[in-house]
Symmetry: C2
Subunit: 143 residues, 2 copies
């Protein structure tokens, strides 16, 4: 596959694919007779790993280091540790996003009430509020 095809299929700008290549993300990428990049299954699979590692909180430089590790057969332990650390990080991120979600749900409820009752003041005066939201309300104080 040529760079434009990959770009279209994965929704990644060609300039970004070149940038990733320059960062060492495609160690085995081949070129055709004109020097044009030829993306094979290995590179397409790498795109998934790259996306995964980015989402897991690694910088471009750190992802490059991972692909460096992959060149060396006796780094299996380091690579295991890397993914284990990333996994823990992502689990924490998910928990933080769940908390963010609870706050957003509270705010959504809050403004829905404000619209129905006519003002924020009216919502703030409510004595009975769904237990689901009570904790969040406390956290935010006057907000």
């Amino acid at each position: 596959m040529k760079i434009t095809q990959v770009s279209k299929k994965y929704g990644i700008p060609a300039s970004t694919l070149r940038y990733y290549d320059s960062a060492g993300f495609f160690p085995d990428l081949k070129r055709d007779e004109n020097g044009n990049r030829e993306f094979g299954p290995a590179e397409l699979g790498s795109l998934k790993v790259i996306e995964c590692l980015k989402k897991s909180g690694l910088t471009i430089g750190e992802i490059g280091q991972f692909f460096e590790l992959c060149k060396n057969k006796d780094t299996l332990g380091e690579r295991y540790e890397l993914f284990n650390t990333r996994l823990k990080h992502v689990e924490e991120e998910i928990e933080k996003l769940e908390e963010t979600k609870r706050i957003l749900e509270y705010k959504k409820w809050y403004y829905k009430q404000a619209l129905e009752l006519g003002s924020e003041e009216a919502v703030n005066k409510l004595t009975q509020i769904p237990s689901k939201y009570a904790q969040v309300k406390k956290l935010l104080g006057s907000n």
Copy 2:
């Protein structure tokens, strides 16, 4: 509370708090007789909202716009829509992170096997792989 206390209590650099102030995140922030910022309950609550909106994918500029909206009593509907949109966004983000997590779990398992079996080749030759990982393996191809 003075800026340094807030900084210590919330682990946010004083420079960042000033930057947030300059972005309009504390519309009602008071100053003492020397012109020093005095953070009250409203501002401390705002910090939670700011963190929430940042996590939900808004830029600093967009969070500033939200605080602008809050100055106007007839923007309750817009604010409701904002939080509703952010909620949907965060739900999608959580789903993406769950997928990221599944890939990381596969990679962790893969390298654990490689360590136990002595090489990546040995793992790639396995015919029986836990069903949990089969889908991910397919997705990644040769990676």
